[in-house]
Amino acid sequence: MALHRGRGFAAINYPIGMNLGGDPSQALVHSNPDGKFTVALSAIDLGQGMKSVTRQIAAETLGVPVEDVYVDTADSDTGPHDMGSFASRGTHRMGNAVIQASQEARSVMLEAAAEELEVDAADLVTDGRGNIHVKGAPSRSITTMAASQAAQFKQGRTIAGRGIFLIPLSEVDPQTGEMTPVSCFAHAAMLVEVEVDDETGEVAVLDMQSAYEVGRALNPKLVEQQLRGGAWMGMSHAIWETTEPYYPSRDHGPEDFNAYVMPGPGDLAPHHISVLERPAPDGPYGGKGPGEMCANPVLPAVVNAVYDAVGVRVDDLPVTPEKVLRGLKANGGAKPRKAL
């Protein structure tokens, strides 16, 4: 009876969003009389940071400080239509819609400022700190607040913009089944090290090394946060979590957190993350979206590592002690692929 170490590798392509039924998101942007902007979305921030990222995107496009943008989400009764926060589509789909809406609002804001400054709107630039000025002549300037108030109370203009990003429904070729369900892929590769106990069948993940390609990391801290938490969830799905561990009877399944097995803070594996940035041509400022794919490479990498360690190929997740022990029995004991 012994502990066996093994290494496993996996690489994935992960689709951003899914247009099997068409995949639109809308955004509405408008200025308020104080010169600040509201972005209305119907997609929800689940904690992944969509409000932060769309706020950055709106501020960058409008040319105003990020503090001057408020993102209002998640009232699908009153907000513009959105397919929702799923399929890792938030940054990509909503971000593109926010850019389009912000561009329209920005052009009206510059027209309002041009009227006040008595110049051509095409000659105006923003400094990102709340001012609009004539290109090359910073002293001929007006604040975004003054421009908004002039539009609101003098000129009778609405500084507002509409945005939609639609990946249209992809038709399926009836002869070949060929279609284009996805326009943008993120990528990841992971190497994990595991230890398998051939007496108990238990698997422990000892170390994870990963590289994630996420387009441009629009908010690097949020990206790292998602990758770290998501990979932990992937590890949990690989060797712990299932609603039906005690086959064959469903009656023996877990009904609460007492019986639903999840790793706790004592079961962490060190995770060394590299973020690779290859801006996506159709992404907002090059962003794709880490989303679900942060969990995905962990599962095949762990399964491969278990095979490397003891020669047991588990093809049904999660890799529970019972499956490992059955595999060991069928193989006549542990058959490490190589001595590490």
């Binding site: 940071g49 946060q225 803070p265």
Partner: protein, 157 residues
């Protein structure tokens, strides 16, 4: 249904409120005392989202009878900040130790209780202290880092 008056200290303020027969402390705090910081997660003492301190000890408020706290001192996440944030709250933000935030109040209470009985915990002691608090988003590592940063005096006050 009979109601019992309960006198208790709530985050340092002496209060009295009526508890229903059999009402648990979580419901009493949220509905009776208006403190929404303890969260209802599982309602059976396995997730830790409802963690509060009773006379300095962490307890799962969903498993405590409200009337049993008569004369006792309750501290919740809502009472951690005074005129400024608790160093743990600052460290949780600096270390991105929350995503959806549902476990955060319970985590903060568990961490505060740990640091009060053991100001210099090891990493293992931190993991032990939060082992009753489930988190789905962070993978725990940022939370452990935040608590250790406060314990080691690295966090900004």
């Amino acid at each position: 249904m009979a109601k019992k008056p309960v006198h208790f200290s709530h985050n340092g303020v002496e209060r009295a409120a009526f508890a229903d027969d059999g009402q648990n402390l979580l419901e009493f705090l949220r509905r009776g005392a208006g403190d929404l910081s303890p969260k209802y997660g599982c309602g059976q003492g396995t997730c830790g989202a409802c963690t509060v301190m009773i006379d300095g000890e962490t307890q799962l408020s969903c498993l405590v009878l409200a009337e049993s706290i008569d004369g006792k001192s309750i501290r919740t996440a809502a009472g951690l900040a005074s005129d400024q944030l608790d160093p743990l709250q600052v460290a949780f933000m600096d270390h991105f130790a929350a995503q959806c935030g549902y476990c955060t109040p319970g985590m903060l209470v568990s961490a505060r209780a740990l640091l009060e009985r053991n100001p210099k915990p090891t990493r293992e002691e931190v993991m032990e202290a939060i082992s009753g608090n489930l988190c789905r988003c962070t993978g725990y590592e940022p939370i452990i880092s935040a608590i250790l940063a406060v314990a080691e005096g690295r966090a900004q006050a």
